[in-house]
Each structure stands twice: as structure tokens, then as C-alpha cells.
Amino acid sequence: MLKRSVVLVLILAACGGAAASGPDAPGDRPDLPVTTAAEFEALLADIDTPAVVNVWASWCLPCRSEAPLLNAAFEQYGDQIEFIGVNVTDNQTDAKAFLAEFGLEFDHYFDQNRQVPNFYGGIGIPITFFFAPNGELIKTHNGILDERTLALNVDELLKLGS
């Protein structure tokens, strides 16, 4: 029984650790650009495609679970929809380590004081905002995203853009 438990623990450790040891070390990444609510609003206004804005922090457990989904959506729809991450109430080192761990390749901004989610009326963390082209807020999803919710809202944005 003890042998079985040890083997199980080793398998779990091996499986779980695999994704954390990628070539993209946190130290190689530049710091995330700092943004304010006004700057972020201007950024969205300049984008002529729909946008998905995910608010996250490295210490947030649900953010870890939704990160792979956001990556999958970005890989599939990144040419039609702008994906942007906003890191809040965090520090640059931990934020970069999180991005390296999950290989999140879309643009991310640093917002220590939660100005961006507060401006758009988001509650808690994580939050995902869905924007029409030119920055009109269409929908706010407070809490963790599941695959269906993300896929359905992405589909809504695509129909909006077409």
C-alpha cells in the first residue's frame, strides 16, 4: 500500500511539474507595462476588433485554472479578437513567473491598484470583460470562466464583429 502511494505521489509530481519547467524563464521577460484606467480606455478605443480583457493575479487560484482556456482561445481566435491581460494587486516578479508558467503569449498590463477593473465595474478576481470594437463594454463575467462561457462569449463577439 505504501509503495503504491509513493508511486502515485511521484506520478502526480511528474505530471504537475511538466508545464512549469518551460524554456521561457520569468527573468527573461520584460516588466509588464504599467497602465491606468484612462490609458487602458484609450487603448481599447484604438482597437478595431472585439476584445477579451482578463483581470488576474498570480496568487489567485481560479486564475490558474482559467489560464489554459484563455491560451486556447487566443491560439484559436487571436487573429480576430484582441486578448489582453490585466494583472492586479500583484508584483512584477510573481506576475512574470505566472505568465512563464502558463505560456500566456498575449499582451498583459500591470495595474497594482485595480484601476481598470474598478473603472469597468468588475467585482473580485478573476474578471473577464468582453468589448465590442472600439472599446464598448458588452459583458462582464465576474469569477472563473469555464470553457462554455468563454467559447459562447467569444462567439458572441465574433458575430458582433462580422
Binding site: 504537475g16 508545464a19 485554472s65 459583458k139 470553457e147 467559447a151
Partner: protein
């Protein structure tokens, strides 16, 4: 777990309870406890596998196991639930047949629980019974309700089958896979959905129906 998911889980339990009341023949003692226990076991295994596939180490992030909405691996959850049930039933295969209709009705309840979660809608459609997300003009298939209706029909069908070893259980597995397979194209997904697992359920369910009576004969021969 979020409260909307909890309500959907309660709906599933309620439908299972109804199934037990409707089809009470040959049930083991405490059937609802066994079904709920198996469901929890399946969820645990499914969530664990989903975490590992997402690159989240369950040892360093043990609390992530509670974030069910983060993803549950369908195939691992199904296998985990069946193994957990059999373990609780001391590997008595006939118990699977007795509880199969109630389990399928419980799954129908889980899908119908989309009404509490606001998560019934799928791909866009202009059919007259479709509706739109709040604030949207795009009407969509209520795909989870289609699945719920399909599973309710499947539960009834399974309850009408003869009492041959694993005939009801195998048919239930195949029909659940078939209902999910038929509704999957209407379900929004980033990954295409676990279609392979649904196909596997149909095939394995068919094999179980075919092998069950043979296994029954062999077990009878061994016991004499």
C-alpha cells in the same frame, strides 16, 4: 463551488431520487448514497486529471481541486465514478444494472440544472424555440435542455430493458455517450469537446451489453 453549480448538483440528486422512486426493482440498500458517492468520486478523479493536463501540480496546488468550474476531465470522471460505485458495491456488477436508470435520470437533472446556472445555450440558430443570452440579439439552441430531454428518454428506455447482467448498465453508458455525441456539435467549445470519449462510451457500452450475458454464464459455471 459556486452556488449555481450547487443548485445544478441538487437538481441532479433530485432527479436521481425520482429515478429510484420510479424504478425501485432490485436496488441495493442506500442507492442514492451510493450514486452521490460515486459522482463525488468521479468528480474528484476528473478534476485531478484535468488539473494535471492543464499543467497544475495537485501537490503544490491542492486547493485547486475544489475549483470544479476550472474543468473536469469527462473520461476520467466517468471511469472514476464507475470504479467508485463498483468499489462501494463490493464489485457486484448487478448493482450497476439496478441503478442505471436512476443514474441516467440524474444526469438529465444535471443538464436541466443549466436553467439555474444560466448556461443552457449553445450555437446560434433561428429556430422558433431558441432564445438569446441577456443583452444579446443572437438566438441560440438550448442545447443542455436537448441533452436533458434525450437523457430522460434514455433513462426510460433503460428501465424497460430485460434483467440480463450488464444489459441495462451497458445500454445506459452507450445511450449517455450517444446523447452527448449528438448534442456536442451544438455546444460552444474551444477544443471541440471530448467527442472521442463519447464515442468510446458508445462502443464500450455496446461491448458491455454483448459481453454481460457471457460473463454471467461464466460466473455461474465458476460458482457451481
Amino acid at each position: 463551488m459556486e452556488f449555481t453549480l450547487l443548485w445544478a448538483a441538487f437538481t441532479a440528486v433530485g432527479f436521481s431520487w425520482l429515478g429510484i422512486r420510479l424504478w425501485s426493482d432490485r436496488l441495493p440498500d442506500h442507492p442514492l448514497d451510493r450514486i452521490i458517492g460515486a459522482a463525488v468520486g468521479g468528480l474528484f478523479v476528473g478534476r485531478l486529471v484535468a488539473m494535471m493536463l492543464q499543467g497544475i501540480n495537485p501537490l503544490t496546488n491542492p486547493l485547486d481541486i475544489l475549483i470544479v468550474r476550472g474543468g473536469v476531465h469527462t473520461g476520467a470522471a466517468a471511469i472514476g465514478a464507475i470504479v467508485a460505485y463498483l468499489w462501494a458495491a463490493k464489485w457486484n456488477l448487478a448493482h450497476l444494472d439496478a441503478t442505471a436508470p436512476a443514474v441516467v435520470l440524474g444526469l438529465a437533472g444535471w443538464h436541466g440544472g443549466c436553467l439555474w446556472r444560466g448556461a443552457c445555450l449553445g450555437t446560434a440558430s433561428n429556430l422558433p424555440w431558441t432564445w438569446a443570452e441577456p443583452g444579446s440579439a443572437v438566438t441560440r439552441h438550448p442545447v443542455e435542455l436537448y441533452a436533458a430531454l434525450g437523457l430522460m428518454a434514455a433513462a426510460w428506455l433503460v428501465s424497460r430493458l430485460p434483467w440480463r447482467l450488464l444489459t441495462r448498465a451497458g445500454t445506459a453508458l452507450a445511450l449517455v455517450g450517444l446523447v452527448r455525441l449528438l448534442t456536442e456539435p451544438m455546444r460552444p467549445s474551444l477544443t471541440g469537446g471530448p467527442v472521442g470519449w463519447y464515442l468510446a462510451a458508445v462502443v464500450v457500452g455496446g461491448l458491455v451489453v454483448w459481453l454481460g450475458p457471457k460473463l454471467d454464464k461464466r460466473l455461474a459455471t465458476q460458482s457451481t
